[in-house]
């Protein structure tokens, strides 16, 4: 079980790298969808089949793998966003930063005390690395929609970490958390429409009228 989970987590890291390096908006969103789909398998792999994990997996798959990417794709179509990502600075520096952050999270999580059955798994380092990737996307990308992608990756990182403690999160709370995420993206997409209408671009470097 753990080996499959580890392999899956490694794929998540590769997708992180891909996200940092890719220049196409479509492949960004597709990657988020794939990553969301992949991590929705984690509850089953980490804790075996039970009604709780099954529900969580299905809900996560529907929300992270299908509904949210659908919303984003629809936004791309309706808002007529051009297909380039337009980073604030180059892809190579972000890639290097991403790798360093990933390496740091692997080294850092080695220092944290873990219980025996988790010491061989990659949940903590990959969770932290994914978090860092999301953060990097948030601060280095100009397009509002990629910032949403960054936020989603960020959330994925937390989700991965949360896999270690499904006992702590009752089902209802998990469901509410996912619902909040969906609504958040929904509102962000609406705001994106408005940004497009007001500024005829969704590059957030246009959003500079409010400053000291």
């Amino acid at each position: 079980m753990n080996n499959t989970a580890n392999l899956l987590l490694l794929l998540v890291v590769l997708l992180n790298f891909f996200l940092l390096g890719t220049s196409r908006l479509g492949s960004n969103i597709r990657t988020v969808a794939i990553q969301g789909g992949l991590i929705s398998l984690l509850p089953l792999l980490a804790h075996g089949l039970s009604s709780h994990t099954l529900f969580l997996a299905v809900a996560a798959f529907l929300f992270k793998g299908i509904a949210i990417p659908y919303l984003l794709f629809r936004a791309v179509r309706q808002v007529h966003i051009s297909r380039e990502v337009e980073p604030l600075f180059g892809y190579v520096p972000t890639l290097i930063l991403g790798t360093l952050a990933t390496a740091a999270s692997f080294i850092f999580s080695d220092r944290l005390p873990m219980i025996a059955e988790h010491s061989q798994t990659l949940f903590v380092p990959v969770g932290l690395a994914t978090l860092a990737t999301g953060f990097l996307l948030l601060i280095t990308r100009r397009k509002a929609i990629i910032q949403v992608v960054g936020y989603l990756i960020f959330e994925n990182g937390i989700f991965i970490f949360g896999m270690l403690l499904t006992e702590a999160m009752p089902l209802m709370v998990e469901a509410l958390v996912l619902l909040d995420l969906l609504v958040a993206v929904f509102i962000m997409v609406i705001v994106m429409h408005q940004i497009k209408r007001e500024f005829s671009t969704i590059n957030i470097d246009q959003l500079t009228s409010l400053k000291e």
Binding site: Y91, F106, I107, P125
Partner: protein, 306 residues
């Protein structure tokens, strides 16, 4: 005596006879995807044979360097081949630290081919040389990181041991790292041999080519040597990928050799599939992908060291 001679003989035999076949398999695969018949499997053999029977035209502006390029291009892959095991057939030549020798052998041939390209004084060939050197220089760290990972896993600094029997155990203990390394080595094979997505070996537009443009002025036996050398280089680097992918041994020599040849042909098919399904990258994006490969191999090292 026999224990040294047999692998040596087998090595050279496999290298000399099989390497042009890979190009044939790649060509066939691509033809299959495109719905064409394509050139026969043995096309490259015919080409090389034909070229060796021709006379050479050598520009009057060139010096002896122009002639050295093709020779090193031919000799270096042969030397490099002696350092690595072909599947479970051990390397005939092996010493501690030969991985560095291996990498710099290719550096040597690249130096001379690039110099001979510059020697012609043609701006196109100079441009090709610049690109070739840039990309190789970006590919080198990846090879080194990959070798460091393998050296750490096997506890040895010679290629023979690194790709030897310890790999089977390593696949059990450090599969994630090795998987990443496999991907990285495959990428290196593609870039070093100027395959899609880095370079399109079929275009004959000077502006888009990298490797081909360097050798525009070579003709006859010189060009034949370059083609043959390039085929062997693909074979050698491919053997690393296959060696990593199929580390096991069946215990039976003949079966092992067949397994290795099968692996090489499979690799050629995979390259053919990649070339058929992908487009050549924009020149600006190539360094990005190569840096990505470096970072990936670096990450696999971290994964191993933690």
């Amino acid at each position: 005596m026999k224990t040294i001679l047999l692998p040596l003989f087998l090595h050279l035999l496999l290298l000399f006879t099989l390497s042009p076949l890979l190009a044939g398999v790649i060509g066939k695969t691509k033809a299959l995807f495109a719905g064409r018949t394509g050139p026969p499997f043995l096309q490259l053999y015919f080409d090389i044979w034909k070229l060796f029977g021709k006379k050479m035209v050598i520009s009057r502006t060139t010096t002896w360097i122009f002639r050295v390029g093709p020779v090193t291009g031919l000799v270096v892959p042969v030397l490099a081949a002696l350092l690595i095991p072909f599947g479970s057939i051990g390397a005939p030549l092996s010493f501690t630290g030969d991985l560095i020798f291996f990498v710099y052998l290719f550096g040597l041939s690249r130096f001379f081919i690039a110099s001979s390209a510059l020697d012609t004084g043609s701006p196109f060939e100079g441009m090709g040389a610049v690109r070739e050197v840039t990309y190789s220089c970006l590919a080198e760290p990846t090879i080194f990181f990959a070798f460091i990972v393998l050296a750490r896993l096997s506890g040895s600094l010679s290629l023979d041991a690194m790709f030897g029997q310890t790999l089977v155990a390593s696949w059990h203990s450090a599969a994630p790292s090795l998987l990443l390394i496999l991907v990285c080595l495959f990428l290196v094979t593609l870039v070093e041999n100027c395959r899609i997505p880095f370079d399109d070996p079929n275009t004959h537009l000077e502006l888009t080519m990298i490797h081909e443009v360097m050798v525009l002025d070579h003709s006859g036996p010189d060009f034949g040597m370059i083609l043959y050398g390039a085929a062997m280089k693909l074979f050698v680097l491919g053997a690393l990928v296959v060696g990593l992918f199929l580390p096991g041994t069946t215990g039976n020599m003949a079966l092992d050799i067949l397994l290795f040849i099968g692996g090489m042909l499979l690799l050629a098919v995979v390259i053919g599939v990649v070339e058929s399904t992908m487009a050549r990258l924009r020149l600006l994006r190539i360094p990005q992908l190569l840096v990505g490969a470096i970072l990936l191999s670096f990450f696999s090292l971290i994964l191993l060291l933690r």
